[in-house]
Symmetry: C2
Subunit: 341 residues, 2 copies
DNA sequence: TTGTACGCGTTATCAC
DNA sequence: GTGATAACGCGTACAA
């Protein structure tokens, strides 16, 4: 039943070659005569050989494993990012060991140790709980995505430019007052650029505006409640003005749109809405929502490409220590749909 | 810079024990005196030892790897299922090697070979491209989720019961005619239960009904177009009747609701809607959508629990060959929100 | 072009 | 309670 595994030794015995020759067949086939290649190829079939990469890894130290620490897969942004990262297997050949951190620092630290024990060649971190200084201390080729990155390499959306684009569109839509709704976010994380970009653009155009920072919670119910309050606030404080609402993500934008739409049966002329992310909820809304689209595929690819470079450097005889950190930015694209003109 | 790795040999030399004793410290600490345990513990700190699980796996054959083949992460259902599976690490300790198949059969076959080469102890398959007979031929502990499962173990939602619950609710809502919109789906996949459950319940209650099977495409635009046509069809063919719409998933339900809501500015009394899945789009819709909630956490847990049983059996001296396949069902829960009474 | 011999870091099997 | 030694399956100098 449980057929014993075929090894190079078995193939060697079967073909009257040495193990070395069998090894060469896999790693440097051209060094064998065509004739002998065929003999071995046939033997593999006859014996039903299954390669053992673990043994290979163990012997040469190249695991071809990349570890991933991701906060959750509930948010479409993370799910899609993971998807795009996993898809780079076709291009780079690295396998991925994935851990979901659930925003718990100690759990994530434990996961990192586990990953290190499996001799991962590199790591991609999307979680926020562990400071980049600590991440750097693991001395593993490392790229973080869309988070604080003072001591590590990173790839992020150009949040500032995204906010500039979104804000500018609202201004072009002749809004009288602009409101940006966001969570309180630290200045050292990329997402802060959304706030700064909004403020700078408003200042530059000398337009009336307000920044609304508040924790909105995670459940739809909490979000609805928060957006309802914001909506009432805008109604009371800016009556008769055309209000441009720039929400920090599409889920908020969708919730806000729903509240307004239910109030008027349509999106009235004195409200314009733009979200951020281009998640499916934006396109599937009662009115397809204009949004700042993150180029998740590009970010994932850039991150892996950068990581592969680092990992290759590490494999060299005398690896050049990385002298300066690399921080890549990917420009988002404005997606105009029906909540703006 | 690149500090050379500490091995059991180094620790042994440092503590004047043998490698065997160091190994025992990790695997059977109680067999050492407390005193000696402390000596070794201190040595680990002094030398900054990092364990090498790859070597461990190589030596004892237990990789603690489980392979996952998942079609995509675009659908919330798959993303959340992967999330829940990954979270079982806390409970069972198995690490996951994840591949996204993108619905391509040959790609997925290649991924399976790759997984096998890494000596995975078991595999969870959510993809549909590879027939269960072929999956079974790999002779690896295997559980599939929500797919054709004639020759393999499986865990699925009780789609039939879900459809019965959803359909019954529409009947209780005094609908005059019931419509079920679905894609053409093979009879041997669990999702077919949604159709059968709908038909049986309608027949049992002797209520007027219609089954609408059509491919709706994948983009929101295609879905909107398809739902618009279905909506027009219902309007024309069942005027004056209260229509109960049972959509095969929440994305369709959301799109349908949006179309109706935009037509009337509300959900009129002669339409009732229910979806399937309980994905976020249902709760975030213009009116929170009633739906049949899949218990993704339970499904994931049951699948891993079953897989762990199989893997443990395999590890025994004389593994008992599995005589009969196990097919588990998880009953979905009806979630009543605002698109039904 | 092919073979020999050893190393990778741990566990398993015997001894003591 | 502890140690010596042989696996595990493959890669890789070095030799032929």
């Amino acid at each position: 039943m449980e057929k014993k595994k075929i090894t190079f030794a078995d193939i060697a015995a079967y073909t009257n070659f040495s193990k070395t020759t069998i090894s060469r067949y896999f790693n440097n086939p051209d060094s064998l005569t065509l004739e002998n290649q065929e003999i071995i190829a046939q033997a593999l079939i006859d014996l039903d050989y299954q390669e053992n990469k673990l043994a290979k890894v163990f012997a040469n130290g190249k695991s071809e494993f990349v570890g991933i620490i991701i906060p959750n897969l509930y948010l479409h942004y993370y799910a899609e990012m993971l998807n795009q990262i996993l898809n780079t297997y076709e291009k780079f050949g690295y396998k991925f060991l994935v851990f979901v951190g659930n925003h718990k620092k100690e759990t994530e630290q434990q996961y990192i140790h586990e990953l290190l024990a499996y001799k991962i060649e590199g790591m991609i971190v999307l979680s926020h709980t562990i400071p980049s200084e600590e991440l750097a201390s693991y001395h593993v080729p490392l790229v973080v995505i869309e988070r604080e990155d003072k001591y590590v390499n990173s790839v992020s959306t150009d949040n500032y430019m995204g906010a500039v684009q979104g804000t500018s569109l609202l201004i072009k839509n002749n809004c009288d007052v602009l409101l940006h709704v966001n969570s309180p976010v630290a200045e050292n994380v990329p997402a802060f650029g959304r706030i700064q970009g909004f403020l700078d653009t408003c200042a530059e155009h000398n337009i009336r505006h307000e920044l609304i920072l508040r924790d909105v919670g995670h459940s739809h119910q909490e979000i609805r409640k928060a957006m309802y309050e914001v909506y009432q606030y805008t109604k009371q404080n800016y009556p008769g003005l055309k209000k441009g609402l720039f929400l920090s993500n599409d889920t908020l934008a969708n919730s806000m749109l729903n509240i307004i739409f239910r109030d008027f049966g349509t999106l009235p002329d004195d409200y314009r809405i733009i979200g951020f992310d281009d998640s499916p909820v934006a396109d599937g809304a009662i009115l397809p929502i204009s949004t700042v689209g993150q180029q998740i595929d590009k970010i994932a690819y850039e991150a892996m490409e950068l990581l592969v470079t680092l990992m290759n450097e590490r494999k060299k005889r005398r690896p050049a220590p990385q002298t300066k950190l690399i921080h890549k930015n990917v420009t988002p694209v404005l997606i105009r749909r029906e909540t703006t003109d």
